[in-house]
Amino acid sequence: MQSKMKESDPILEVENLSASTDNLPILKGVSLTVYPGEIHAIMGRNGCGKSTLSKIIAGHPSYNITNGDIKFLGEHINSLEPEERAQSGIFLGFQYPIEIPGVSNLEFLRVSTNARRKFLNKEELDTFDFEELVKEKLEIVKMDPAFLSRSVNQGFSGGEKKRNEILQMALLEPKIAILDETDSGLDIDALRIVASGIKKISNAQTGIILITHYQRLLDEIKPNYVHVMSDGQIIKTGESDLALELEEKGYEWTDNLIKET
């Protein structure tokens, strides 16, 4: 099964990536390759560099790449602006989605969707056509249309914010989605809705990276690979049972692995 997947070209290649912020090294040589149809999980303690990795792939301006490379669909993307990366199909689901007062959620979603459609040489949607599309996508995350007329994420509960993230993913139809702790702050029902939404959106042509602390998301979405990060490096990679082992033994077990190597 795996070898069949790898007949196609990789979506994302992170090669020996090191990065810092304010001269403080955060990533220290991370390598990761995602092929179409693959789901990767990245686990690790808070502060190990998981979120930083996701932000750097999305192009956050606060981090400097000091070494290594990121390739998306075979192209170097280090010099691309965040919006160019997003338009070409990289999606970052935020751990803490940002509130933007005064900007209507509906308008934000439309401008964003049209930016992606323009890149794909698809026709941009006017307000009426877009409303139809968005109503269809709302179903996926079982979101109330009332959220469309509010300001972006403003006054949304933690769970509503996460659903809004998955709604954006559904509209943008990315090639790769990096979901940073999308499961945190969700109750069991919301977790199921979000997980089933992610599964509906992804397909054999897309790649997904799930950053998470918990097995419960991975029970819903079974990863092909699990990577454990510590101190800015991937210290262990395995298949889905690695997550179970990790849950059982805790991060101390991986700490000992580092000492052994």
């Binding site: 301006p61 606060s62 965040p82 919006e83 338009q87 005064g102 900007v103 934000f108 401008v111 954006q168």
Partner: protein
């Protein structure tokens, strides 16, 4: 930061309206004294009451001191170094637009205000003022059918002297403040509007003010009277060429609303703001005030202030009539080294009067933006209410924002509510929008428009779109 580099790449669009029209002008000598005032009055063939009004104002002005309480810093203005009358040379009497110098028509064309019969805007009547004189007023005949008078104030002085004598200076008396006194002494032209009883003005009225000459001041005077149960929406726009000297603009606007009348006055102010080093730009010292004289009358000010090196402006409402309503909706944007001290005064005099203030200040670059407002409840203002909301947005870390709300209440049975907030466009917000494929500049302008939404909603439609674009243009390259 990466953003800074990006910002440097953004092409800065120069001030679009900075051109000078090369036209022969008639200017009087620099300086200000009684003879100059007599000369202006004589050139305008004014009746004696107006010359007396001017001379009295001049005497008062000489005894007054330039105010220094605003949070503004600028080089002292030399009032003797200004030309107080400058007009493009034209034929003595112009009977139709065909006789207007084509260069002038072309100028307004370039500014997006076509005046000729074929091209004129269809939904709005325009009075075009060039330096000290009004060039043309469109749709006059159509308006006259409804009894609406819309013309330059100089014409009104000739043809409707009774109305001028009755109302001029009744809202802003010459002694009101230093700049109002100066204006009263030397005002050159401006617009006059009279809406008779029971008439809803069939179209928006608009004045467009253009400063062309670098060494003359502009002192326009606008007077709008809305009789019982009438209503009008009035728009005002302004631009000026780029000069490296500062030009003084000291206008007075007076509005009068009788019983059940309503006046909506909207401004998009885009005078030249000076360059990035703060060289040049208009000094904008303006007194705007409306008097809600009648019961249930309403005066609503909306302003989008983006230009001028210095803005000193407090469009206010005197709420005399029972249940009269005053509104002030303002967006003031400053960039580079611009300074703005703007706000409003809501003076509640009659009972059950109501006022709303929504002010949005945006400061970018090294600019300084202050809101200054007064809400006063007089002894008879029982059951009156005010709601104020003053929000500031900072862009970058060099700009400053201040809020000075003054509240005076002499009436315990009245309500005053004030809310204020300050926010900053954060890197995280920008990154969030960018990470959804939205371009950097568009992200900034989305957030700024979002911030100004409450005010833009109050503007007439065409104006709202223009204001949105204007802000985006002004902010290009200001976020780092």
């Amino acid at each position: 930061m990466v953003n800074e580099n990006l910002v440097k790449d953004v092409v800065k669009e120069p001030y679009k309206y900075g051109f000078v029209t090369d036209i022969e002008t008639e200017k009087i000598e620099k300086g200000l004294n009684e003879d100059i005032i007599k000369l202006i009055s004589q050139k305008k063939e004014e009746p004696k009451f107006l010359l007396d009004f001017r001379l009295k104002a001049f005497k008062k002005w000489q005894k007054m001191k330039e105010p220094d309480w605003a949070a503004l810093g600028y080089k002292k203005i030399d009032y003797q170094d200004i030309i107080y009358y400058s007009a493009p040379k034209q034929k003595e009497k112009i009977s139709s637009l065909d006789e207007v110098d084509p260069k002038l028509l072309e100028t307004f064309d370039k500014l997006g205000i076509p005046l000729t019969e074929q091209k004129k805007l269809t939904n709005v009547a325009v009075d075009a003022v060039f330096d000290s004189v009004s060039i043309a007023t469109t749709f006059r005949e159509e308006l006259a059918k409804h009894g609406v008078i819309f013309c330059s104030i100089s014409e009104a002085v000739k043809n409707h002297a009774d109305l001028i004598e009755k109302y001029l200076g009744t809202v802003v008396p010459a002694s009101d403040n230093y700049f109002a006194a100066l204006n009263s002494a030397v005002f050159s032209d401006g617009s006059f509007v009279f809406i008779p009883k029971g008439v809803t003005c069939p179209m928006d009225l608009s004045s467009y003010f253009r400063i062309n000459s670098g060494d003359s001041g502009q002192f326009e005077r606008t007077l709008i009277i809305a009789e019982e149960s009438s209503s009008v929406s009035y728009l005002e726009g302004c631009t000026a060429p780029m000069f490296d000297t500062n030009t003084l603009h000291a206008a007075v606007v007076e509005l009068i609303a009788l019983d059940d009348a309503s006046i909506k006055y909207s401004t998009v102010q885009n005078w030249y703001a000076g360059d990035e080093e703060g060289i040049g730009g208009i000094f904008n010292f303006v007194t705007k005030r409306g008097k809600c004289l009648g019961k249930r009358s309403k005066i609503s000010w909306s302003q989008v202030e983006t230009g001028s090196a210095i803005t000193w402006k407090y469009p206010s409402c005197l709420l005399l009539g029972e249940e009269s309503v005053g509104e002030f909706y303002s967006v003031a944007l400053t960039n580079n080294l611009q300074q703005a001290d703007t706000g409003t005064k809501m003076i509640h005099i009659g009972p059950k009067t109501k006022s709303t203030i929504v002010s949005k200040g945006i400061s970018a670059g090294n600019s300084k933006n202050s809101y200054r407002g007064l809400v006063k409840m007089g002894t008879k203002a029982t059951g009156s209410r005010n709601y104020s909301q003053c929000d500031s947005m900072l862009i970058g870390d060099q700009a400053s924002a201040n809020t000075f709300p003054y509240i005076k209440s002499q009436q315990p049975n009245s309500e005053i509510e004030h809310e204020a907030s300050t926010c900053r466009i954060s890197e995280d917000q920008l990154f969030y929008l960018q990470s959804r494929g939205i371009e950097f500049e568009e992200a900034v302008s989305m957030m700024v428009s979002g911030f100004c939404r409450d005010v833009f909603n109050q503007l007439p439609m065409e104006f709202a779109a223009e204001a949105d674009k204007l802000l985006a243009l002004k902010l290009e390259g200001s976020v780092g």
